[in-house]
């Protein structure tokens, strides 16, 4: 019973994480700020400052360009691609989800899944055999229950 529940819970968690991963994308509000946060200011490659955070003129110019491109109907991906074509992938603040860079995205979640599996294995080692638990759970109500309840209540008061 309990094992099944744990399995079910872990499965649900996995599905949930999966759904999140599939990207409920616009974590950030507008396409404008999404793009500004997605690009590094080309004048500040050394600092890794995003266009959104950077105060210098290059960043201001890119912000204005992005505003105009969005107004003219270009999508976020189109705009990002223009900048990647111009400056290369180093302008992106996050690695693209392909090739070697896929590892950046996959490893953290694999780590958690692996950790979860280890915990599951450890638990199944630590938890005592099921027979014992069943026997306890099914104890019949007895005459002494009232007495025990009263004792428990008495003990409880000491800690309140």
């Amino acid at each position: 019973m309990a094992i099944r529940l744990v399995k079910r819970i872990s499965l649900t968690c996995l599905v949930l994480v999966g759904i999140f991963l599939v990207n409920i994308s616009p974590v950030l509000a507008s396409a404008q700020s999404d793009i500004e946060n997605g690009l590094i200011c080309p004048a500040c490659f050394d600092d890794g400052m995003t266009v959104a955070a950077c105060a210098d003129s290059t960043a201001q110019q890119i912000k204005e360009e992005v505003r105009q491109k969005l107004a003219s109907g270009q999508t976020k991906d189109q705009i990002m691609n223009t900048y990647v074509a111009q400056y290369g992938e180093k302008i992106l603040t996050s690695p693209p989800k392909k090739g070697f860079n896929l590892l950046a995205w996959v490893i953290p979640f694999s780590g958690i899944v692996l950790g979860g599996a280890l915990i599951y294995l450890a638990l199944s080692k630590w938890v005592k055999g099921p027979g014992l638990r069943k026997g306890q759970a099914k104890t019949k109500p007895g005459v002494l229950d009232d007495y025990y309840d009263a004792r428990v209540e008495e003990e409880y008061k000491k800690y309140l």
């Binding site: 019973m1 309990a2 094992i3 529940l5 744990v6 968690c13 949930l16 994480v17 999140f20 991963l21 990207n23 409920i24 616009p26 974590v27 950030l28 509000a29 507008s30 700020s33 946060n37 997605g38 590094i40 490659f45 600092d47 890794g48 400052m49 995003t50 959104a52 955070a53 105060a55 201001q60 992938e89 180093k90 992106l92 603040t93 996050s94 690695p95 070697f100 860079n101 950046a104 995205w105 490893i107 953290p108 979640f109 780590g111 958690i112 950790g115 979860g116 915990i119 450890a122 638990l123 630590w126 938890v127 005592k128 638990r133 306890q136 759970a137 409880y156 008061k157 800690y159 309140l160």
Partner: protein, 663 residues
């Protein structure tokens, strides 16, 4: 002053080395006199380092421009508070400051009466770290370098650092970093002494919790500083250095939870050792990142050879600690057994998995540029979108656990009892969800998931407190208020934890709102013009200028009205510092629990019209308020006296003589 400072540091290093030798001799049973001598050497180190720090502070405030460090970070017209803060503005000074906190803590620990048997081991371990820092400021990054010819004035402090954040953020963060040295040292001492119980955890609980609090505050004050100073409307950029301070916070949080399993059930001893070693290692790793220049960061102190020293020292410490754990591993064997898959202790395992998983994902993201460069030769950036997407699901799952774990009983929980305790919070959460969809008009899935979870956690926490009150009321016959007060104050550890949880949930609400619903407008205002932006009626009265301390300020004078209510006068500033070419853009903020109106002056025209950038950042105030709630929770839990102790311990049947037949 310079010679006093540098001589002080040299003697301090000598004394700290001597204390190591003396502690070693005492531990080799050479007599109590060596212990006393070692302790005195520790106090002497603390005293002499304090003298050096005093000399540095004096030089900074008095403006002794014959010292290179003073000329690099101060100037004559710098306000006195920032002259003081210049102590931690640069590489050498901040290492001096770090070493000072560390030796002071070591002296306090050494002098304390409660943990006598640990001191001959814990104190020298802290001293080893102290020796490293003293070595660094004596030979690698020297604070007291004198110029051949004194300058008339210094170059001044970077304008970005001239903010109240500079006063409090580094101090709280360093206290947090350094504080974790104490539980680490005690853990190692416990291993060396072959005392594998939970004594070291109990002895250092206060230290751990207070260090954790300071780390929390350090991060929050840093976020707030970024919010009010950098002028991009955000507060957290997942910069490598920010990550470096978040990682030990996450593993430290995991440690605070998992030690409870050891205290109650005598399990997870190895895991707790690994967690405290990791946390300690990460506090040093952060310093390595800041000082080495291996990753691009806005916080970097400039690349220097310091990083290599830190990397080597950190690696040595971690390897030595892990060796010690491996060597004593038979002593750390598990005590009790788990009695069920579903129990509070197993829920702690999940909590640890997610906290450590999150720390690991941040670590991986932070070092990925280096990995990528080494493997495929391409230095790729890993920034905000990556960390947000990876950590948002982990974070939300963690928050969800906050609403589940406290409701699960120790040892063994049944499905019935769990579903019973989860029912009402879930109903409330669903009602809350429907309310925010239909009344609030919020439809973004991410926000809905986050808010529902937050409502659930708050409801579950309050329900648990309410249940306790009802039980107490029934048993003692007190009225509701007295029951509540007595229940909370007599189980302060538990309910302090609940208060902290509520604070964290408030922070999550703030993070969600400000990330999902922020909007940005850019508008040009002519003098006298009034416009409605994001629901606010903003009238621009005119462009003014004034002189303040060491800066010239140009500001736009604005009046803000919302819903026919006057909200106040805003002065949106561009600040020109005397020693800096680039002006600083200082935002003006009107903050409410609903949202922040955040206005920046980006430029002006000849005709007196101004270009304003207006951010509407919802719910940010929840983030800062949550931080205060966390402080209250920690103080509540730690307040000395009855009720702050650990709960009763669970023992297995075999450990009790007559327990064999019962149950």
């Amino acid at each position: 002053m310079a010679s006093l400072g540098s001589i002080g540091l040299l003697i301090a290093l000598g004394l700290s080395l001597y204390s190591l030798v003396a502690f070693f001799l005492f531990n080799r049973n050479k007599g109590i006199k060596y212990l006393l001598s070692a302790k005195n050497a520790v106090y002497g180190t603390a005293l002499l380092t304090s003298i050096s720090v005093g000399a540095m502070i004096y030089a900074l405030i008095a403006g002794d421009f014959s010292i290179e460090y003073v000329t690099q970070y101060t100037s004559r017209d710098l306000p006195i508070i920032y002259k003081l803060c210049a102590l931690w503005a640069g590489n050498a000074g901040s290492l001096l400051f770090w070493a000072w906190i560390l030796v002071l803590l070591t002296a306090i620990v050494t002098a304390s009466k409660e943990n006598k048997e640990f001191i001959p081991y814990a104190s020298p371990i802290m001293m080893v770290v102290g020796v490293f820092f003293l070595f660094m400021i004596n030979f690698v990054s020297l604070p007291f370098v004198q110029l051949a010819k004194p300058l008339a004035d210094g170059t001044g402090m970077n304008p970005m650092l001239q903010n109240p954040g500079m006063v409090i953020h580094p101090v709280t963060l360093y206290l947090g970093y350094v504080g974790f040295t104490v539980p680490f040292a005690f853990a190692m001492a416990a291993l060396i002494m072959k005392n594998p119980g939970d004594q070291w955890i109990k002895l250092t609980r206060k230290w751990t919790l207070i260090s954790w609090l300071f780390l929390t505050l350090g991060n929050l004050f840093g976020a707030q500083w970024a919010y009010v100073e950098l002028g991009w409307g955000g507060y957290w950029a997942w910069d490598p250095v920010e990550n470096a301070s978040l990682m030990p916070w996450l593993t430290g949080s995991a440690f605070l939870h998992s030690v409870m399993v050891q205290e109650r059930k005598n399990m997870l001893k190895i895991w707790n050792m690994v967690l405290i070693i990791t946390t300690f290692g990460l506090t040093l790793f952060g310093t390595f990142l800041v000082r080495s220049g291996v990753v691009a960061s806005v916080h970097a102190f400039g690349s220097s050879s310091l990083g290599a020293y830190f990397l080597i020292f950190t690696s040595l410490m971690i390897l030595a600690s892990l060796y010690l754990v491996a060597d004593r591993i038979t002593m750390l064997r598990q005590g009790n057994q788990f009695e069920s898959y579903i129990s509070k202790e197993s829920s702690f395992l999940l909590n640890n998995l997610l906290l450590v998983g999150s720390a690991f994902s941040i670590f991986w993201g932070t070092v990925f540029p280096i990995v990528s460069e080494a493997v495929v030769g391409q230095k790729i950036a890993v920034g905000i979108p990556y960390f947000n997407q990876v950590n948002a699901p982990i974070g939300l799952a963690l928050v969800l656990l906050m609403g589940i774990c406290p409701l699960i009983a120790w040892r063994k929980a049944t499905l019935e009892s769990i579903s019973k305790s989860f029912m009402w919070p879930w109903i409330i959460a669903i009602v809350g969800l429907l309310t925010i969809v239909f009344m609030g008009g919020i439809t973004k899935p991410y926000a809905l998931v986050a808010y529902t979870i937050c409502i659930y956690v708050i409801a579950a926490t309050l329900q648990d407190i309410f249940k306790g009150v009802m039980v107490r009321k029934k048993l003692t016959g007190e009225n509701l208020i007295i029951s509540l007060i007595k229940l909370l104050s007599r189980n302060r550890r538990r309910y302090g934890g609940y208060i902290i949880h509520i604070g964290i949930v408030m922070m999550i609400i703030g993070i969600t709102g400000s990330n999902v619903f922020n909007t940005e407008h850019v508008k040009t205002f002519k003098p006298g013009e009034t416009a409605v932006v994001g629901g606010y009626t903003i009238s621009f009265k005119g462009l003014q200028d004034k002189v303040r301390d060491n800066m010239e300020v140009v500001y736009a004078d604005l009046n803000v009205i919302k819903n026919n209510q006057y909200l106040g006068n805003l002065q949106v500033e561009k600040v020109f510092y005397s020693k800096s070419e680039q002006p600083m853009t200082e935002p003006a903020i009107i903050s409410t629990f609903k949202e922040d109106l955040y206005v920046l002056l980006t430029g002006w025209e000849k005709d007196g019209s101004v270009i304003l950038k207006i951010h509407i950042n919802p719910q940010i105030k929840w983030l800062w308020t949550g931080g205060w709630v966390v402080i209250i929770g920690v103080i509540f839990a730690l307040w000395p006296g009855k009720g702050s102790g650990v709960g009763s311990r669970y023992i297995v049947r075999g450990e009790v003589n007559h327990g064999n037949k019962a149950g």
